[in-house]
């Protein structure tokens, strides 16, 4: 607030705003899940077929990685509330590393697909069954959009960590960190839905 006297956003309003925002994110992915549901309903066998191609091991690994990272974020919030800033920063660092692990896995997974000449518009893909084509389209866009959210989440976490160092995030004012945490949980949650739909489909 440049013009007004100090305008504080109280914790409850900040959280409420964040939740509303998370709703919109859920609806954004919701649209994709809807499309997924429709296409899967139309081509169940081919979706199954294509799903088998995905590497369940990498998928599971990534799920575990994200779950742990969600936990470390939550722990770092508690740490800040207990005024243990060093621990909080450490936990955020671990979260970041885990997120990077996730992205590296993703990178290998995608490049592997590219080696098999499976990417949007590739000749191999064009010759596949209609259902498989749709599955891969969804696979790339959904995991791609999710990966984009991981990156945005990382940036937000970075700002929260910076806030702890600068002293704008303190045991009394945890809103920024909490909201960053909420966002990170969302990223996690979406993956929890993506994982079985893409990798475990039977």
């Amino acid at each position: 607030m440049s013009d007004h006297e100090e305008h504080v956003i109280d914790r409850e309003s900040g959280t409420m705003g964040m939740w509303l925002f998370l709703f919109t994110e859920l609806f954004l992915f919701g649209g994709l899940f809807l499309v997924y549901a429709v296409f899967r309903y139309m081509h169940p066998a081919e979706f199954h077929e294509a799903g088998l191609e995905l590497d369940t091991f990498v998928g599971t690994l990534n799920t575990v990685v994200l779950l742990i990272s969600s936990m470390t974020v939550a722990m770092s919030i508690t740490a800040v509330q207990k005024k243990n800033n060093a621990l909080a920063l450490g936990l955020l660092a671990i979260t970041t590393i885990l997120a990077l692990v996730f992205m590296v896995n993703k990178y290998f997974e995608w490049t592997h697909k590219f080696h098999l000449v499976i990417y949007p518009g590739s000749p191999v893909l064009e010759n596949m069954e209609r259902g498989e084509l749709l599955f891969y389209g969804l696979y790339f866009i959904m995991t791609g959009l999710h990966a984009l959210h991981v990156i945005i989440g990382l940036i937000v976490l970075f700002f929260a960590g910076y806030g702890i160092m600068k002293g704008t995030v303190t045991s009394e004012r945890t809103l920024l960190l909490e909201n960053a945490g909420l966002y990170w949980h969302l990223v996690d949650l979406i993956w929890i839905f993506l994982f079985p739909l893409m990798y475990l489909i039977t």
Binding site: M1, S2, D3, H4, E5, H7, I9, D10, E12, S13, M16, G17, L20, F21, F23, T24, E25, F27, L28, F29, G30, G31, L32, L34, V35, V38, F39, M42, P120, G121, R130, L133, L134, G137, F140, I141, L145
Partner: protein, 540 residues
Amino acid sequence: MTQSEKYTHVSYREHQGKYKGIMAWLTTTDHKRIGLMYLFGIAVFFCVAAVLGLLMRIEKIAPGETIMDAATYNGIFTLHGVIMIFIVVIPGIAAVFGNFCLPIMIGAKDVMFPKLNLLSWYIYVIGAILGVLSQFMGDGPPDTGWTFYVPYSAEANSNVVIALTAAFVLGFSSILTGLNFIVTIHRMRAPGMTFFKMPLFPWSLYATAWIQVLATPIVGITLLMVIAERTLHIGFFDPALGGDPLLYQHLFWIYSHPAVYVMILPAMGVVSEIFPTFSQKPVFGYTAIAISSLAIAVVGYFVWGHHMYTSGISYYSRWFFSFLTFIVAVPSAIKVFNWISTMYGGSIELRTPLLYAISFIFLFLIGGFTGLTLGALATNVHVHDTTFVVAHFHYIIFGGMGFAFFAAMHYWFPKMYGRMYNEKVANLAWGFLFVGFNVLYFPLFIIGLQGMPRRYFDYLPKFQTGHVISTIGAFILITGLIIMIANLIRGVRKGAYASANPWKGVTLEWQIESPPTLLNFDKVPEIKHPPYLFKKETEA
């Protein structure tokens, strides 16, 4: 006319912050200034799109090519639709008058997230500029219509991606505004103001905000998918890539039908303020009006299929969507009857805002009832995608939301600027607008019934009479618009000073200075009464 001395307080427009001049506006987080900034943005884009509308009308004065070729015409109606819908009417009343009045009407100093509010404006401007640029960059104007139906939009060789991106960005701005309003209404009402002591304009904004937050992401992702389809060749909707074209239409209308209520609900909120004030009488059926806004918002989510009756969806879906379409008309009916009952038994002063509000009802009725014609299955088959639809939505958007916007403009003008426009000229402009409007759009109903399809560059000679009359109407309408805009601009600069409460309104915005100070209230008001309590004044 309420003549008075120049005010002595420092208003929000004169307040000096860290920056001066134009920078003071571009960096402001004051909700009133942001409201005005939206007003300028919307006014400019409205004029651009309106001129495009006029060009279309001139083209159609005779069959065949008159002033432009088919490719240009198709680009123009697309840009006209995109600007009018995404840049003008969806932000429309909520962004301009919502920003300006909402905090004041609930007794707050600002919205909850002022910086986010400014950010929304910037996002809005970026989106709007992108939208206009799409017309001039790259491979030629996008020519898909504002509905971007796939497969055409996935295959057309024009600038569709930029137009899609523009719509996506604008949606983002709309979400942030909605989010801001919801939190503001929940958390910042003045002490004593329960939900049911809140005036009706904030109520309508509340219902609108929920639609914005919950429906916009769906169209956002849908547009992203079309972008992915075009740039990465990922199949979703284009059958050539394995996709399903009807799925696109479903996703598009799941958003875009609720979006029409984003346009009309704030307009309904505006007239719900104007009728009580100019009748000096509490609004009739306060609860019914408030609840019916929510009902419209909720049921409005389930009628999207009425845009797709002829697209090949199943028999039962058509039945179901038609049924719900009729149900959604009932809350609108409730509102109309409550408004007219508000006037009954009042002490009515027919000033410019009321004139606009009454013509709002008239035009909204025509638009609404022709909406019912479209909602009925048998009749829709005949008039779907004809100029009948074009006339329906111009009546309801321009006649409804547009006239309510003009009503709001005249109603809150003294509050925004502390000055008055010339009322005689304002009424004259209204006359031109009202007559021109009907001459412009009514013929489209008739030729639509005779089978004139929409989005037609060319037409059969038998439709010419209707088109010519319609074009004449467009010229009358412009005359009115130009008079109105000139009169308002003159009012801002030279108008007589207005008092704090020129209309004897009782909602909170009339209890503070005109124009308001930066902080709106000297001390936080305490609310003890329901809104619209005129008794004290009339007895005194």
